[in-house]
């Protein structure tokens, strides 16, 4: 699918987990990256600790695409259990590196690949005497083989090894040796018959390879998070653990040993949510990280946060539901549920980062928004974004100070004769609050999830109830325009595509592919819920808008039907992907192209007109 002469190489390594495959994959990734070649790695790991099939997808493109691709140009097959099935992943005419002991692949499989059998186990046994170590080093041998096939220079590998084993000189040496073993074996025993080759580029200068959970964690720290209450759950745990790691490094007073953040591992997600609300009520910037099952458990507290108007940041790194689902696969399956979480009339601002950079930025913004709007803010990331490495421009140092929202301190209260916690004095639906501990007779109020009036007094009055609920709806309107605005690309096509979150990267590529085939598509990337007014403009301006959802039910498409109303909704077409794999461009092209067949045919017939659009 790449342009002529352009690089687009996709490698798939099939291994078992808990066997050092992770570091082998990373070293290979970083080595290619060190060659100046953009990479897009995807790790497909099982929900277990060791011994089950794991696949690593590594794509390298000169176009700098960040999405993956489904079929492999080069397949490294190291897991006997999946060997036969894995062959189906290979492009016709592709390259197959495999454990010699598996025996040759059944003929016909992969229609004539270039075959490189390598006795990995035997090589490991011979070169790594320590059996414990061997378990973790067998995989790295494949990196040497692949380096030899693709022409990855030692210098690039060395750079990658140094990154991976910075502080572990012994491991560094052992891994280096294992790579050499692989390279040497290929040189001495096999002949390259394929034509795959990686040539250095200069497109990664200044770029970083980071995981969304890592950048989100830095965002939390830079956003002034002082309370993290969490409960471990894949794929969100590493976000919390990154926050803790950063805190250990940057939030500890060298002299006193004091730690300027509380990181509490709660007993479950219910408790974590409650801690966030307690802390937010008391004035701290508090957050939790979780995934689907945790969101379900937090429902009651989110309703309290909504109605009692308490700030808090709730990060959902989405995995595949329903229920326990596929804990190590990716999906955008919690959008509708998070947006409307809890019984009664509720609706919550949801931020939808589309890149690791936005994971960093939106986390900071989330704390501002939570305090500005005094309500729980969701940040919905996903496993693909959170746990895979992504090439990114460097993260900028924040330019603005925190916005702590409408808080009245003693000094302001001194100027006032009356303070009512829930009165809309500014007309934006956002009332003022005081924090416990404020030394002023007007300051205190009673926080509750039961009916209350503007002065926070208990009431069952029908009129008061309605008034408060109407203001809450107004507050969300205020929020609507403060949230990250959509980003529009193009503008003159008849057809649009609307996507959000990690889908972005496949969309960008799909647009290129479709454009090359004569179909021009404009693109709106949604970055928050409730949707901003630009969305209606965008939909109005297009005959058809494809809404990309990584879930079965087309949840965003459904939300848009509600938010945009029927007049615009009839322009929406749902494009859905929900098998737990990251979204690839082909998943979109395969759905959009046939649907647009007439338009494409027309465009082909009129190449000039299409180009002029």
């Amino acid at each position: 699918m790449a342009k002529h002469g352009a690089l687009d190489l996709n490698l798939v390594a099939s291994t078992v987990n808990g066997s050092g495959s992770q570091s082998a994959n990373l070293v290979l990734t970083r080595a290619i990256f060190a060659m100046g070649i953009p990479v897009a790695p995807k790790n497909l790991f099982p929900s277990n600790i060791e011994g089950l099939p794991t696949w690593f997808y590594l794509r390298a493109t000169s176009a700098g695409y960040r999405a993956g691709r489904r079929r492999a140009d080069l397949l490294v097959a190291l897991d006997r259990a999946t060997f036969a099935a894995d062959l189906a992943r290979l492009e016709p005419g592709g390259v197959l590196v495999f454990e010699e002991a598996f025996g040759p692949p059944p003929s016909g499989a992969g229609s004539g690949p270039h075959l490189y059998p390598v006795p990995f186990a035997r090589l490991a046994k011979a070169s790594i005497p320590d059996a414990d170590l061997r378990k973790y080093l067998t995989n790295i041998i494949y990196v040497g083989v692949v380096a030899e096939i693709l022409g990855i220079p030692d210098a690039a590998l060395e750079e990658a090894l140094l990154h991976q084993f910075k502080s572990k000189p012994k491991a560094l040496a052992a891994n280096r040796e294992a790579i050499t073993t692989g390279r040497e074996y290929f040189r001495s025993n096999l002949t390259k018959t394929d034509s795959l080759q990686l040539a250095a580029l200069d497109q990664t200068e200044g770029q970083l390879l980071l995981e969304g959970n890592q950048t989100a964690a830095l965002g939390a720290i830079m956003g002034g998070c002082t309370v993290l209450a969490w409960y471990p759950i894949t794929p969100s745990s590493s976000l919390a653990e990154h926050v803790i790691g950063l805190a250990d490094r940057y939030r500890v007073d060298h002299e006193t040993g004091e730690r300027r953040i509380a990181t509490i591992q709660a007993e479950d997600e219910l408790a974590a949510a409650g801690m966030v609300l307690g802390a937010g009520w008391a004035g701290a910037r508090a957050m939790t990280t979780t995934s689907g099952p945790g969101i379900s458990l937090m429902a009651e507290f989110i309703g309290l946060g909504y109605y009692a108007e308490i700030p808090g940041v709730f990060v959902d790194v989405q995995r595949v539901g329903p229920s326990t689902g596929l804990p190590t696969r990716t999906m955008q399956g919690d959008i509708l549920f998070a947006y409307t979480l809890s019984h009664g009339d509720t609706r919550h601002p949801v931020l939808l980062p589309g890149s690791v950079l936005e994971c960093y930025q939106f986390m900071q913004q989330a704390f501002d928004l939570a305090e500005q709007l005094q309500t729980p803010i969701f940040v919905l990331s996903d496993l693909d974004l959170g746990m895979n490495l992504w090439m990114t421009e460097p993260l900028p140092y924040p330019e603005y100070d925190f916005d702590r929202g409408k808080v009245l301190h003693k000094e302001q209260l001194d100027q006032m004769t009356r303070f009512e916690r829930y009165r809309d004095v500014d007309g934006d639906g956002v009332p003022w609050r005081t924090l416990p501990g404020t030394e002023h007779p007007l300051a205190a109020y009673f926080t509750r999830g039961s009916g209350h009036d503007e002065a926070a007094r208990y009431t069952e009055s029908d009129e008061t109830y309605t008034r408060v609920m109407d203001r809450l709806a107004r507050k969300l309107e205020t929020g609507r325009e403060r949230l990250p605005a959509p980003i529009v690309q193009g503008g003159s096509a008849d057809v649009g595509i609307l996507a959000y979150g990690s889908s972005h990267h496949a969309v960008v590529e799909a647009i290129d592919i479709l454009a090359a085939r004569g179909l021009a598509i404009d693109y709106l990337r949604l970055r928050a819920l409730p949707v901003a007014s630009q969305v209606a403009d965008f939909v109005s301006a297009h005959e058809r808008v494809y809404v990309v959802d990584q879930n079965r039910d087309g949840q965003m498409q459904q939300i848009l039907q509600i938010e945009l109303g029927p007049d615009l909704a009839h322009r929406l077409r749902s494009v859905r992907h929900y098998d737990g794999m990251p979204l690839f461009a082909a998943d979109l092209v395969d759905q959009i192209e046939p649907a647009e067949e007439p338009a494409v045919a027309e465009a082909r017939a009129l190449p000039l007109a299409a180009g002029a659009r």
Binding site: Y250, G274, F301, T447
Partner: protein
């Protein structure tokens, strides 16, 4: 107009300053008596209303935070989840003094897990369970503290063993555990003051009869039952910090517990020999009294040494919520070097 002299405490506040809204609980409800004892304890203790945070769950009992110290902030959380909310607030602002009010349903039924984990973390707060053995607010169903064999108003008999809140608290490692009775201010007020002086979670399991749904014959949480079966462990006096008091008890009959802020609780043994610093002794006295159908009251266990959550987490003296970007963000240099590490 004639000048009226109002008695004030060390902060210059009158007892009225510790009052709240008029109660909406039933006349005669034990919870109302506890409210009165709390008002007295807070007044006597000279608690600053602005530093007080009143926490609760859901239930008749949990409503009680509205009925004292109107000038303090309050958080009436969802049912059974006050512990988590309090934990979050306590780390956010360690300068606040947390006083939590819960019910037996709130604590021992829906809230059991959170309650135990609060104790495990030793969050600095006073946790009062207004224990009536029933769900008052939802009209009289048994709670998990109803005793085996206790009879419901409509006649059905509880088939399940009680969850003994005090015993459970000691078992899971609480640092301060006492039991008392809503009708016994002489005991409850010093216990409350000691709890306020304790750093860590102080659990007060206070039997508090529900006159509407659980004060009949056959109930083991009725006024009459408690009066008939109370086993008072100690007489007690709370001696504030810096107060010199002459010891005038006979040798050996009294002990003192020194609390975190330097104040002391003086205990004079009454019923049984019990060392409140001995966990096992506490488990024993609770277990035995329960088996005998007695309601043992007094200070059951205290360990003033156990670090509270903020200390264990090594949080700064200044409340977390007061920290600004300067203290929280990486400096530009640190930031640059981190990104370099990450590259």
């Amino acid at each position: 107009m004639a000048a009226v002299t109002v008695k004030v405490n060390q902060l210059g506040l009158s007892r009225d300053d510790y009052k709240g809204l008029a109660t909406t609980l039933c006349a005669g409800c034990g919870h109302n008596s506890i409210t009165n004892h709390i008002v007295k304890a807070l007044y006597d203790h000279g608690v600053d209303p602005y530093r007080l945070a009143k926490m609760s769950g859901i239930g008749c009992s949990s409503k009680a935070t509205a009925y004292f110290v109107e000038r303090a902030h309050a958080f009436n959380a969802v049912h059974g989840r006050m512990p988590a909310v309090t934990t979050g607030a306590a780390v956010a602002d360690r300068d606040l003094l947390f006083l939590g009010i819960s019910g037996d349903g709130d604590t021992a039924s829906i809230g059991l897990g959170q309650f135990c984990h609060l104790l495990r973390r030793n969050v600095d707060c006073t946790y009062v369970v207004e224990n009536n053995g029933v769900y008052g607010l939802t009209k009289g169903q048994f709670s998990a503290t109803a005793d085996l064999g206790s009879v419901q108003k409509k006649g059905s008999v509880n088939q399940l063993e009680t969850i003994d809140i005090a015993g459970l608290a000691v078992q899971v490692g609480a640092s301060f555990v006492a039991r008392s009775f809503s009708g016994d201010g002489a005991q409850l007020v010093p216990l409350l003051r000691a709890a306020l002086s304790h750093r860590g979670t102080a659990v007060l399991d206070v039997i508090s009869p529900c006159v509407t749904f659980n004060d009949h014959e056959g109930s083991t949480k009725s006024y009459q039952y408690v009066k008939d079966h109370e086993l008072i462990l100690q007489e007690m006096d709370f001696i504030p910090q810096q107060t010199e008091v002459e010891v005038d008890y006979a040798e050996g009959s009294s002990t003192e517990v020194e609390l975190h802020d330097g104040s002391r609780l003086r205990l004079r043994k009454l019923g049984r020999d019990h060392d409140p610093k001995n966990r096992l002794s506490a488990l024993q006295v609770i277990d035995e009294s329960r088996r005998q159908g007695e309601v043992v009251t007094g200070l059951l266990y205290v360990n003033p040494e156990m670090p509270d959550l903020c200390s264990a987490e090594n949080l700064p003296r200044i409340p977390l919520r007061d920290l600004g970007a300067e203290q929280l963000r990486l400096t530009p240099d640190e930031f640059a070097s981190l990104l370099k590490d990450w590259a």
